[in-house]
């Protein structure tokens, strides 16, 4: 794949704290995410996965290094510009608390567009609603939905604005395996059908296995960057890394 990457990180370093207490959560990471690819970021707890994702998504600023999204260098943007970038070019799925409790499922899906004051593409909206499979619960509040349903709504919300990239931080971390599969296939479908670029942080091998590529972090560094075909291969990869 030789086209220019949607997201590119160069020599990222993120240090928390100062002096003796300083933690280098990300310690020199350069990684590209090409258009239309589904990438999983793996690694043990505390290895810096979330920190990396936050910097890639413009939620946190790196101590050193640079991030570009869709050709835009994030370092030069102020808060308002970063916010607009997140709204228009990035979709988010978090592990918990993805939805606003006071809005209905459908309103939650449309939230990024409402914030931008834009109307949804009706075809896409219909397609997403169908894919989420909520049926008549679309008008319900999140508290009336199951955890899996909530995460699917969150995925639809991330996709509605046709963002350049979707970042998902442990989107299945809280789900049973059936719900988890549904969420993963939604993401996979977006990549296959719309050519959506997806970056997903996970520590679950079976989740990582549906990605096209797995980047493994340990202690804030990239220790592996491969394209395993199955859950077994992912597990093997993790074993190698741990060794």
């Amino acid at each position: 794949m030789s086209q220019s990457p949607i997201v590119a990180a160069q020599d990222l370093v993120r240090v928390f704290g100062e002096g003796d207490a300083a933690v280098r959560a990300i310690d020199g990471v350069s990684v590209d995410f090409p258009d239309g690819a589904f990438t999983a970021i793996m690694g043990p707890s505390g290895s810096g996965k979330s920190t990396l994702m936050h910097m890639l998504a413009g939620l946190d600023r790196p101590t050193e290094g640079s991030v570009t999204i869709d050709g835009v260098e994030l370092a030069g943007l102020d808060d308002a510009e970063l916010t607009e970038l997140r709204r228009d070019k990035i979709g988010f799925v978090f592990q918990f608390f993805n939805l606003l409790p006071v809005l209905t499922a459908d309103e939650n899906i449309l939230l990024p567009l409402s914030l931008a004051g834009r109307d949804p593409d009706p075809k896409l909206h219909e397609q997403l609603v169908a894919a989420v499979g909520l049926g008549d619960r679309l008008g319900h509040r999140p508290s009336e939905l199951s955890g899996g349903q909530q995460q699917r709504v969150a995925v639809a919300r991330a996709l509605i604005s046709e963002p350049a990239v979707v970042f998902a931080d442990e989107p299945t971390g809280n789900l049973d395996s059936k719900s988890s599969d549904e969420v993963l296939s939604l993401l996979r479908g977006a990549v296959d059908e719309f050519g959506q670029t997806v970056v997903m942080v996970t520590h679950e091998a079976h989740a990582a296995a549906i990605a096209d590529r797995v980047v493994v972090l340990v202690d804030g560094r990239v220790v592996a960057d491969e394209a395993p075909e199955s859950t077994e291969q992912v597990l093997d990869l993790m074993k190698q890394v741990a060794a």
């Binding site: 916010t83 997140r86 228009d88 990035i90 988010f92 918990f96 608390f97 409790p101 309103e107 939230l111």
Partner: protein
Amino acid sequence: MSSIALRNLGARKLRTFLTALAIVLGVMMVAGTYVLTDTIEQSFDKIFTESNEGVDAVVTSKQVVETDDGQEPPIEASLLEAVRGVDGVAEAAGTISDPQVAIIDPDGDRVGGGGAPTFAFSTTPERFDPLEYPEGGPPQADDEVVIDKAAAETAGYELGDEVTLAGKQEASRYTLVGLATLGDIESFGGASIALLTLPEAQRITGKQGRFDSITVAGADGVSQDALANRIAAVLPDSSEVETGEANTQSQQDDVGEFIGILKTVLLVFAGVSLFVASFLIFNTFSITVAQRTREFAMLRTLGANRRQIITSLVIEALAIGLAASVLGLLAGIAFAPVIGLLFDVLEIGLPKEGTVVETRTIVTAIVLGTGLAVLAALVPALRATRVPPVVGLREGASLETSAGRRRRGLVGLALAVIGIVLMALGLFGVLSPGEAWLGVGAAVVFIGVALLSPRLVRPLASIVGMPLQRLSGVAGRLARENSIRNPGRTATTAAALMIGLALVSFVTVFAAGLKGSVDKAIDEGITAELRLSNTDGFSDIPARTATAIEGVEGVEAASPYRYTQALIEGDKGFLSLVDPATVNDVFDFDWREGSAETAAGLGPTDAVVDDNWARDNGLGVGDAFAVTTPSGREISYTVTGTIKDNTDFFGDYFASDANAAAYNEADNITSSFVRLADGADEEATREQIEGIVDTGFPTVQTQNRQEIKDSIGDELSQLLGVVYALLGLAVIVSLFGIVNTLALSIYERTRELGLLRAVGMSRRQVRRIIRYEAVITALIGAVLGLVLGVVFAILVSRPLADEGFTLVIPVATLLVLMVLAAIAGVLAAIAPARRASRLDVLDALAYE
């Protein structure tokens, strides 16, 4: 972990601060009122003590009717000889001290603007003279005057200048021969002094051959009591004697009574603020306790019992309450002069020297503030600890059951009804004192509506939130949803604002009705084209003003009019004295029985009575009623006619001024109504009248009907302004309530805000949500308040309806109030919105 702990602490600090602020504001007004009134009282005490130095006994007339103008009937000068003859009297002097004169400045205006009186004093022998003369000395001749130093400075007079004084005669000119001060007292609160020789003081006040009092010094070895007893023996029934000390005391008591009224009025407004503040305190404790439900549940699973948790909460409230009360007390001491400014606006000149902080003030402030805090904490504490620990541990556990909510609504409805009934009972005199019950009823209504209002929040939020949602889509929608999320919380916050706005709109509606009724009464009842009255708006003018203009070309009649007080059938009441010969030229009575001839033919003991008063007293034409005049004369009046007197312009009755002297009103009148001859040139006639008045009677103004209406309107708006200012504090307190609720809600919704920011909500949009939420809350409060205010006005004006009071609802003004409330909401949202928009997205997203 440590960052979370720190954030908790930060949030706790905020909560503590906001709770404390409510208490501080509430206590401030109470403490400020006490400090201010105590200070005024002490300043007066000092003035009276100082001016009575060297006086062992004082002889005055026996006051039969305490009139509101503070005038006491004079005593006969012949009494002085009798007093001097009493054994043990070392020296006795007749004195004049009359509050109805004015020092005219070089521009022809009265010094001090008429807010505080100017006293004409007569010179007294050295030993009685309380004055010091930094320049010159007491007047020796009848054309000499001494004025107080402050007045001289205000007017720009210097020794040797010609000073004009206006009293009950034509204004006279004097040479200024001295400046006076009263000991080290700097200010009499705007009051001034003009010192004249005794004969001149008697002349200008219309008291020739009479004194206001006789001051007596006893011989060595004669006690004040003994002296007073001996003097009493020689006095006629119409006069009395007091010891010097008792006289000082009774002057202090008189002023104390007046200040007591001021104090009560101010305390009522302070009470309103405190009442509003208690909503806020209650709300803050409710929210913070709810936020800590999990903490308590955790403590309970660790073995803490209910009592321990309640106790710890109460101790917390006690500590906050105590600290806040002390701050409130200090704030009140600082705030007292600000309240004092209100008197200046109303031109009530009162001396305010120093700062008096009585123990009572300290105790009241602290007990009130601490007590309220504890009470407000107790309910939520009981409620929170009633939740079983397992339930409490769940996130978002609700403290209220729906049955509880329903019960609350019913109790609210019941209270609102009971409150209205109490108001009505107070209003129609079933419960007394009426005003107190009216107030209690209103407070009960407020509590009732506040309890009821959670059920109104949802519909009201939909109505007022709809335009906002139209305006800005998702921000408006979120604001509306947020405001109905905790209906109880929004309701209590809005209810606090409701109280202030209900009272504001009540007085607005009521004042509009009053103004309309007065205007109508003037238009329909007064046929005179002009009125001469005192420039200060309330004092009398010399009776000679009316006669002085009689000869002016174009004047058909100048009818003297006196509005005064007497004991009528045993009760102090108001009445009018008119000139039967001209009264029909200037007034158009609304006769029930009788006619213009009845008024023209009024004999000295005939009276035309207000038909309401006649009905209340079972009187009809031909019946007699007894009146004791301020001079002590008993007059039996015969009813010769009845009128309908809207706005109670004439008082209980009107009678002929043939008996004016009996009412001590021979030389002064309230106003003179002028009827112009047919075809007279109003402009030219008025100019002539003003020419005469300006030189001879500088305290007299000429007004046409429109100007009379305008000046009444001005007075009313001034009073209204002061009432608004006093209610303003309550409104400000309630705005802090909005700030408070928003800040605490934002803290609760940190994560939601983080999510919104992550998915692309701009800071501006965040601010907008918070702002709209505040506006929605404020508008809910405004709608409830305005509705209640109008309801109160309708209720309170019921008994006045048959006196011609017509209620007009000033829709435009009410709409303005609504807009102001919305703007206030925007202002209240500034700080919380800022805070919310500055949230660090990652921090906010970080889960525990």
